[in-house]
């Protein structure tokens, strides 16, 4: 098992430091009685030999991390030096692929996560207070958006918000603008991706919170009621503290899942407006020229990002674990 975890990580790290060999040039001087000309050709044999000898390519160290497609240190420095104020600096940053991907990913994480929690909590509270007989049906339909293949779920929504689809039509009618198209505007595309994110993940939060509500101690609720707490106060001071560990759990899972947002971008065909790091890797690996080094560098950056995201959680788990032992 360790082998399967460690090997690919080592492999990407190594790959990210190499770049394909340049062709070997051969300079031949041909002299005629009158003058000498120099001719440069690609030495096919030598190039092939070099490639066979070192299949990984040339060692370039961290260069790939620093180039325009990734961290783009020099470009950022230039933008910093040349821009007068923050807005200008951010605008020039958003032209660089890495920072463009990061900006979408961060916005996605920090809008979807809280909204999923709020919506999930509301549904759980509402379902908990209706007739017990209907709960099975509600849970069944609620699970559908969650278990559906992410790409397929994204496509289903995408077809509906198409300007010729039903939701697209509805939006056009509501806005009174028959040329309105969600695909054309970056802002609207981000909104629809976020809506998809919420639609996909809310059932998960709902199921977790609903299970938590079943373990709610009834005597505390009654005690609060006798003390004169209103319905809202009971939710605020009894139910929410009881569910707090679950809220933390859902937040953690959501942070991880939203960080790797990828399928909806493919499904919504939104590359032009929104990208994420996973999408960048996919894009490098696919296509006709498979850019392994570039993809590997992005992968390593992503892994570091995940590590940063997970560190506080890991430290907490470690403490809990030590306490239990």
């Amino acid at each position: 098992m360790l082998l399967f975890i460690a090997t690919p990580i080592v492999s990407v790290t190594v790959q990210s430091m190499f770049t394909p060999h340049e062709a070997v040039f051969l300079t031949v001087e041909t002299c005629t009685p009158f003058k000498c000309t120099e001719e440069t050709t690609i030495d096919q044999e030598a190039t092939a030999a070099l490639r066979a000898e070192q299949p990984l390519g040339r060692f370039v160290g961290l260069d790939i991390y620093l180039d325009r497609g990734h961290l783009a240190i020099s470009e950022v420095g230039e933008a910093w030096a040349s821009s007068q104020n923050w807005t200008e600096f951010l605008a020039s940053l958003s032209n660089l692929p890495f920072y463009r991907a990061m900006s979408f990913t961060l916005v996605f994480i920090f809008t979807v996560t809280p909204m999923v929690i709020v919506l999930g909590l509301l549904i759980a509270l509402a379902v908990n207070s209706i007739y017990a007989r209907l709960r099975g049906v509600v849970i069944f339909f609620s699970l559908l958006p969650f278990v559906i293949t992410p790409l397929i779920g994204a496509l289903v929504l995408y077809w509906m918000i198409d300007s010729r689809g039903i939701l697209g039509n509805l939006l056009q009618w509501m806005a009174g603008d028959p040329s309105l198209s969600l695909k054309a505007s970056t802002g609207l595309m981000w909104v629809s991706l976020i809506v998809y994110g919420i639609w996909h993940a809310a059932p998960f939060a709902f199921v977790i919170f609903y299970a938590g509500l079943q373990t709610l101690p009834q005597d505390q609720m009654e005690a609060a009621q006798i003390d004169g707490a209103s319905r809202l106060q009971r939710v605020r001071y009894v139910i929410l503290p009881h569910l707090m560990p679950l809220v933390m759990f859902v937040t953690l899972i959501q942070l991880m899942d939203n960080f790797r947002v990828f399928e909806p971008i493919i499904g919504f065909n939104a590359e032009a407006h929104a990208t994420s790091l996973s999408w960048a890797i996919f894009n490098d690996l696919g296509g006709e020229t498979r850019q392994f080094s570039s993809a590997a560098a992005t992968s390593v950056i992503t892994i570091i990002g995940v590590a940063i995201l997970l560190t506080p959680v890991l430290i907490r788990t470690w403490r809990d674990f030590r306490r239990k032992v």
Binding site: Q15, I148, I152, W159, A211
Partner: protein, 293 residues
């Protein structure tokens, strides 16, 4: 149940019920709509003239003589050979579930019965793999696979999916086994069983709920995966999900989109049945992780 003092006032009850109804429509309507639309022609499903066409199927009636048509399904299943992708998907899912459950049950049992505390490291591995986008690992697998000439075939993809899935499976089964009391093994051994016989005759009969739940989640992971299968499978070995993406990517001719719609509906049906049959296990699996983690 709820006493009279706890019963809801009428206004609140109506508000809550309508909220749930709105949520249900949000959750279910896209699927119903796509299912309905998959029996139409493209001009109806994406109607420029009038959105009610998508419900009544006016253009479909003009073209095919009835408001419903199986043209999309015919195109996807017969012309494009979607059946091959379906078979590939089920081969991949079957072997992923089988392998990860075999390793998971044996390994999980061993870990839960051994004295050393592996739990923390298992949990860490499960967490890391849960957090890591699978595609970052794909980048690492791809170049070696090309060099060993094993790229594009089903077995390597199955191995990669199992590897990505294994820490999670192991952890989940491990916690299920921990709930089976040790006294059960011990009494079996007192009665003269060897360690393996104790596992075979005493533990296996009581472990099924855990195994089924874990198996469901491995199945969902293998079935829903796009990044790994799209990158590691050659065109003739594709599973369903990358094939749907390919329908959209290839030449955009009229009607081709309907192939994609039809195949999307076809790919949703197994999941629908799965939720219907195993709803209880899915919910218990989700919550088991939450309560312990």
């Amino acid at each position: 149940m709820a006493s009279r003092a706890q019963s809801l006032p009428k206004g609140l009850r109506i508000a809550l019920t309508s909220f749930i109804v709105i949520w249900l429509i949000m959750a279910a309507f896209p699927f119903i709509w796509t299912l309905w639309g998959s029996f139409k022609v493209e001009l109806d499903f994406f109607s420029i003239a009038d959105w009610t066409n998508a419900i009544t199927g006016a253009r479909t009636e003009e073209t095919h003589g009835s408001p419903f048509t199986g043209a999309g399904y015919h195109g996807a299943w017969v012309e494009e050979g979607f059946l091959r992708n379906v078979i590939n998907t089920f081969i991949v899912c079957f072997f992923v579930v089988l392998t990860s459950l075999t390793i998971g049950t044996l390994g999980g049992y061993a870990l839960s019965r051994s004295g050393y505390r592996y739990t923390f490291w298992l949990l860490i591995a499960a967490l890391i793999f849960r957090a890591m986008p699978p595609i970052t690992l794909v980048a690492g697998y791809m170049l070696p696979f090309f060099q060993w000439n094993v790229w594009g075939i089903l077995p390597t993809t199955i191995i990669v999916l199992v590897a990505i899935n294994q820490p999670f499976t192991l952890w989940m089964l491990h916690s299920f086994f921990q709930n089976i009391p040790k006294e059960l093994d011990e009494s079996a051994k007192v009665d003269g069983c060897t360690q393996f016989q104790a596992f075979r005759h005493v533990i296996i009969p009581v472990m099924w709920p855990g195994v089924i739940t874990t198996g469901l989640f491995s199945f969902l992971l293998a079935y829903n995966d796009f990044a790994v299968t799209a990158m590691l499978l050659a065109e003739e070995n594709r599973t369903m999900v990358p094939q749907v993406a390919a329908f959209l990517g290839s030449t955009y001719t009229e009607g081709n989109v309907m192939f994609a719609v039809a195949s999307v509906v076809s790919a949703t049906v197994p999941l629908f049945i799965l939720v219907m049959v195993f709803q209880r296990q899915i919910v218990s699996g989700l919550t088991a992780g939450a309560v312990k983690g």
